[in-house]
């Protein structure tokens, strides 16, 4: 697994370097700006959380540009481990994104004060970013191996939109259950519910992906 994770890391690295540069510059701008209207900080947090995940899954297709995807099958690893490594890598990059978002939010709050209406808003912001990222990964990986590498761009767009759609669907469901103004406890419960759903979808996607990948011919 260590070699596979290194493989995924080095494959993602060139894009990660560029995106990290953008995230740092954008973060510095967002932190420097007054946060009376919190839309900038919300946008930044979602961008870095989803962005790092997106870069992680986008790097998978680089393997198909060379024969490495086929070569890797000749090395002493199981196909299920290769599939698992993609999920683990995306999870690790998601944590990096959360780290960037958390640092940016903390800096902005430290410099300009708390910009949100409720104390739970920061938590929900991280929940939404994490949820979209996990749903995106859950949709992308099986589709990628099912649809073929040449359709990876479409699969990426579909999975991103699917992730956003799932999040909107869950939000609608929660709003139906808790009509009217939600208490902080209800918001936290909703956040846990969204996180649990996205984590369950992400976990359930692995055996599906491994099953599809097992039959894939190179």
């Amino acid at each position: 697994m260590r070699g596979l994770l290194r493989n995924n890391f080095y494959t993602a690295l060139p894009n990660v370097k560029v995106f990290t540069g953008i995230a740092v510059l954008l973060g510095a701008f967002v932190v420097a700006m007054d946060n009376a209207v919190p839309s900038l900080i919300i946008g930044y947090a979602l961008l870095v959380i989803i962005g790092f995940s997106l870069i992680s899954i986008a790097s998978v297709r680089k393997e198909s540009a060379a024969k490495w995807g086929k070569y890797k099958l000749t090395t002493p690893v199981k196909r299920a481990d290769i599939a698992l490594s993609f999920f683990v890598s995306q999870l690790l990059w998601l944590f990096v994104g959360i780290g960037f978002a958390g640092f940016g939010i903390a800096m902005s709050i430290g410099l300009h004060g708390y910009p949100f209406d409720r104390s739970t808003d920061v938590f929900m912001l991280l929940v939404v970013g994490t949820g979209i990222s996990l749903f995106m990964g859950a949709i992308f990986f099986p589709l990628y191996f099912l649809g073929g590498e040449e359709r990876s761009e479409v699969m990426m767009v579909v999975s991103l939109l699917g992730g956003i759609g799932m999040m909107m669907g869950l939000s609608s469901l929660i709003n139906r259950v808790y009509s009217g103004n939600m208490t902080s406890r209800q918001i936290i419960l909703s956040g846990i519910f969204i996180t649990a759903c996205s984590a369950a979808a992400f976990a359930a996607s692995f055996p599906v992906t491994a099953g599809v990948f097992r039959k894939k011919e190179y």
Binding site: R2, A65, K67, Y71
Partner: protein, 288 residues
């Protein structure tokens, strides 16, 4: 000592293609090099893909080190080094990064040996692989294939696209590799001169079917081509003819025993042949 690789009646067909790999059988003894030769699209890569389990076979058996290799048999893959034609590794990596990935994949990865190959092959450690020339990428792939101390090398068109000097260097590396008696190489190529230099056995594949497997020395020293006129051709014993090809006024006839042919057909010119000519006669010629 037995066979490091054995194929028995290996068959594979594709749903969206008319190509079929048909009942391929051959074996590769320990300590030897088997040249797997055929024109583009003959089925070399499909055969190798079945051997390496990157595609599923329809029927037949493939035994590596005496056993069939499934997805879970990672121990067998520890003992195999692979080189494909073209870009084996992502171009965004450096050789140093490749080495770190490989070290995490192979338990026997030998970093000093890999670095030695990089030095010997004049490959920069920190340059991106996409900036390498074709020859450099092939040398890198060979270095990576050798640096985990494999016992079997499977090389799919590993020398194609390289200049003769570079090919010669690489063939020397292969010959050095098989000095160990438990080491073997399956070398697929359509460059027959390479196979003549290094192979102990040669298997010819054409249209998904194995048409001839023989020891290289037999092919080069025993096999022969009769240069016949029409009337001489008709006088030949049909059982002696492996393949023949009409060329203007002459008919070239491939026979398995040149010495016997010289004794039997005294008025016919009997020439030594080459792997290249044998392949042409088998592929483009006709059978009796």
């Amino acid at each position: 000592m037995g066979n490091i690789l054995e194929l028995k009646n290996l068959s594979k067909s594709y749903a969206k293609s008319e190509f079929t790999l048909d009942q391929i059988s051959f074996s590769l003894p320990y300590g030897s090099i088997l040249g797997f030769v055929g024109e583009n699209g003959a089925g070399k890569t499909t055969t190798i893909s079945c051997i390496l389990n990157t595609i599923g076979k329809d029927s037949g058996t493939v035994k590596l080190f005496g056993q069939e290799m499934g997805d879970a048999d990672t121990g067998i893959r520890e003992k195999i080094g692979v080189v494909y034609d073209g870009d084996n590794f992502p171009g965004v990596w450096t050789a140093g990064q490749l080495s770190k990935v490989m070290a995490g994949l192979y338990t026997n990865w030998d970093q000093p040996l890999f670095q030695k190959y990089l030095v010997d092959f004049h490959l920069p450690m920190k340059q991106k692989i996409r900036q390498y020339s074709k020859g450099m990428t092939m040398k890198l792939a060979i270095a990576a294939a050798l640096a985990h101390h494999p016992e079997l090398l499977i090389l799919d068109e590993a020398t194609s696209g390289l200049d003769p000097v570079m090919r010669d260097d690489i063939l020397d590396v292969f010959l050095e590799f098989v000095q160990e008696e438990n080491h073997s190489i399956l070398l697929s190529s359509h460059i027959t001169s390479d196979l003549e230099k290094v192979a102990d056995y040669i298997a010819f594949i054409h249209n998904g079917r194995l048409i001839l497997t023989a020891a290289k020395d037999d092919l080069v020293y025993r096999y022969a081509v009769l240069r016949c006129r029409e009337n001489q051709f008709h006088a030949l014993d049909k059982e002696d003819i492996l393949a023949y090809r009409k060329r203007d006024m002459q008919i070239d006839v491939l026979v398995a025993d040149g010495r016997e042919a010289r004794r039997k057909y005294k008025d016919v010119v009997v020439d030594h042949t080459s792997v290249d000519e044998i392949m042409l006669l088998l592929v483009k010629g006709e059978r009796v």
